[in-house]
Amino acid sequence: MSAATTTTPEELEPRPNRARAASLWILDRPLIMLGVILVLLLIACQIASPGYMSAERIGTILQFSAPLAFLAAGQTLVMLTAGIDLSVAATATAAAYIMAGQASRGTATALGIAILVGLIVGLINGVGIGVFRVNPLIMTLGMASIVSGYLTVSAQSFVTGVPLVPDFVRELAVGNLIGAAIPKSLLLWAPVAALILLGLRYSGYGRTLYAVGDNPVACRLAGVRVWQVLLVTYILCSVLAAIGGVLYVGVVNAADLQLVSPYLLPSVAAVVIGGTSIFGGIGGYSGTILGAIILVVLDSLLTLLNASQAFKQILYGFIILALAWLYATSTKRV
């Protein structure tokens, strides 16, 4: 009785009844479920505050979702490998702060430096987790401490000239492309999202990523050097976080040392709601995008309801739990 699996002969599927088939169909397509939830939330907003929905509103929602979507993108990749990155907020903050501080050197340089911050943090995370096999929770937790502590300590030394948010970034973050509904940040977000979605599905790296999350032992036997995959993934995650931080500071237009920390837990929540398993091997970015938008709209709704900060938080927590439960039960069918 050693094996956990039962080795049994297969049998043909019993004829399913209509209702069961329909619910299975929806549960097999979590994106539709998420879309429905989003629409319901928007309707609720409209009811709470007539006139809520407008072209501008769509633009604003997208603007606020973009930074979170970048943080959550990296988090998605990492969680697909059955890992987690709790340093994304610290990295985002550091990248944003340093970029603002170095803005006097020219926008391109400042942006380059921001990306560099992400690269370095991701490299250290990747080496620790991939090569030294440190638990991702601990490694990224430690890095978060190191990064935010170091940032606080050396805050002054990162500032050459007047710290400011470059116009380019500001425009990218809050400017509008077509009318009021399509923000300029989509110019950045859409291509990156497409790259991630296509990459996950149609590239060798994407395949290997899912495989590593599903069964790293099998990967090793198939010749995959797992540490390589982990290293690259954590680097990508931190770089995406850095971009998210840059966008965020563009939206908010003020850099401070705790800038992005409120987005840490939502970055994990967006991924979980979006249907990616925390144990890896299954999921994707499309759900995460919807998850991020849902969280932003949810926040909006709670504000409209004139809920106090406290009630907002309580409801936020419960809804995340409820959505995660929904996914847990829906993926339990044999």
Partner: protein, 502 residues
């Protein structure tokens, strides 16, 4: 009145039926064997009786009263004491703590240990104790509960013969006390020597109950397989000759006679001279051995999982010392492991499983060539006749299909030497047939195949030649024609070196 009566018990997992109708009657004062090939439902029935899962229908009666066993604690309450193949001892607790956890009387346990002439320090962490010790401990623990029915699941697997003898002695004593023993095993010799009656499962049903007699093992096999040994052999031979599928092997067809793989003095056990043999392209070389004689290490070294401490390996004339599986694969040496959980991506679809080695290096991380991938994957699926109905997740496939996936990976990626470590363990007979037929085809197409199987009788059916390993040394080497079970068993126990007839 029988102590345990199982009638018409059934269990299904969604569309998969694990048990159709199982029956079992165990009398007090008897040692009853439960037999069946893997996939027959044996493990499911055992899980039901030990309370790990619940049955869907049918009745279980203990001492004349119908019961519903819902949990391991429930099984304990009706007087069952199981001893699992994987001892249910917590590695991070001491022995004494384990006993207290299960509310087992320490004194009684110690008595049984004494009776079996075993000395165990109860303050040792169970993680520090070797497997045979843990098994015996588990047995003593079960006995200390004074159960009515002792359930021994593959207890003699990996157990040295002196300890196995103690187990049999205990079983006899238990029977003489008027209690019962349910003995679950693959080892027919042990069954015929120690059991009073035997029930055989096949395809989820109990197909017969008989009195096992030494020398009549063939009858049991017939019941288990639903076919005779010779029929099985014929069907394998027919398959490999008849089909026209061409299987890709990346190596240019090397003339048979060229050694593809050479192993010289590879140290895998006690013997300092180690193992030496040659494997030629186009042949299937069998490795026969009892448990733990060094074959695990041999395959680990060849597959790049471990570095050998002594000896050398040569592939296609070049020194071969892989430090990782990747390096072995790069030299064309691939591994099909016994435990398919090591080689499967359970939540990924069939296609991704089969294609996984294709992207194992950074240079292949770019965009996927769909057409090439489809071609390779489809060829592998066809060659193995993989049932693709449960497309979405590999874990939904049957055990046999899952094992086919682990082989299909290499068909798609290409290889020169295939190492198969017990590839048909726990597989139903039909799939076994297909896999063996495929191996013959691969050999015919020029691949070199090294096959270890724990089922000695099947060596003759598949291999061209075989070596026998005992305690890290080759104790026999013979062509298939001479590799019948008695000859193999003799060499496998290190009795008299058997050489190939000159």
């Amino acid at each position: 009145m029988p102590f345990l009566e199982v009638q018409n018990v059934a269990k299904r997992y969604g569309p998969v039926v694990a048990l159709k109708s199982a029956d079992l009657v165990v009398e007090p004062g008897e040692v009853h064997a439960l037999l069946g090939a893997n996939g027959a439902g044996k493990s499911t029935l055992v899980k039901i009786l030990t309370g790990v899962i619940r049955h869907d229908s049918g009745t279980i009666t203990v001492d004349g009263k119908p019961v519903r066993i819902g949990s391991p604690e429930g099984a304990r309450k009706v007087g069952f004491a199981p001893v699992f193949q994987d001892p249910a001892m917590l590695p991070d607790l001491t022995v004494a703590q384990n006993l207290r956890l299960t509310r087992t009387d320490i004194g009684a346990t110690r008595e049984w240990l004494d009776r079996m002439e075993l000395t165990v320090d109860l303050t040792e962490m169970t993680a520090d104790l070797p497997l045979p010790t843990l098994r015996m401990l588990d047995l003593a623990r079960a006995l200390a509960r004074d159960p009515q029915l002792l359930m021994l699941d593959e207890i003699t697997a990996a157990l040295p013969s002196d300890l196995a003898e103690k187990v049999f002695a205990v079983m006899r004593e238990w029977r003489d006390r008027g209690r019962s023993v349910l003995f679950i095993s693959h080892r027919l010799a042990e069954v015929t020597a120690n059991c009073d009656r035997a029930s055989v499962l096949r395809d989820g049903r109990t197909v017969g109950t008989l009195v096992p007699k030494s020398g009549e093992e063939e009858k049991i096999v017939e019941l288990m397989l639903g076919t005779t040994r010779s029929e099985l052999a014929e069907s394998i031979g027919a398959d490999s000759g008849g089909e026209a599928t061409v299987v890709e092997a990346t190596a240019p067809k090397v003339a048979v006679g060229e050694p593809q793989l050479e192993v010289r003095n590879l140290v895998v056990g006690d013997d300092a001279d180690g193992i030496s043999f040659e494997l030629r392209a186009g042949e299937i070389l069998g490795v026969a051995a009892l448990e733990g004689q060094g074959q695990d290490l041999l395959f680990d070294y060849l597959a790049g999982q471990r570095r050998p401490s002594g000896g050398e390996m040569v592939v296609a004339g070049r020194p071969f010392s892989p430090r990782t599986p990747f390096e072995a694969i790069r030299s064309g040496v691939v591994l099909v492991p016994a435990d398919r959980m090591l080689a499967l991506l359970p939540q990924r679809p069939i296609r991704e499983n089969i294609a996984s080695p294709l992207y194992n290096r950074v240079s292949r991380w770019g965009p996927i060539n769909r057409r090439d991938e489809t071609r390779r994957v489809q060829k592998a699926i066809d060659a193995l006749s993989i049932d693709t109905r449960a497309q979405r997740q590999a874990r939904r496939l049957s055990g046999g299909n899952q094992q086919k996936l682990t082989i299909a990976r290499w068909l798609a990626a290409g290889f020169t030497t295939m190492l198969c470590f017990d590839p048909t363990r726990g597989i139903d007979v039909g799939t076994k047939r297909q896999i063996y037929a495929l191996l013959r085809e691969l050999a015919e197409a020029g691949a070199a195949v090294l096959l270890f199987t724990s089922e000695l009788p099947e060596i003759q059916l598949v291999c061209d030649r075989t070596i026998v390993v005992y305690r890290g040394a080759v104790t026999g080497e013979m062509p298939a024609s001479e590799a019948d079970e008695p000859a193999l068993l003799k060499a496998a126990h290190g009795l008299g070196k058997v050489e190939a007839a000159a």
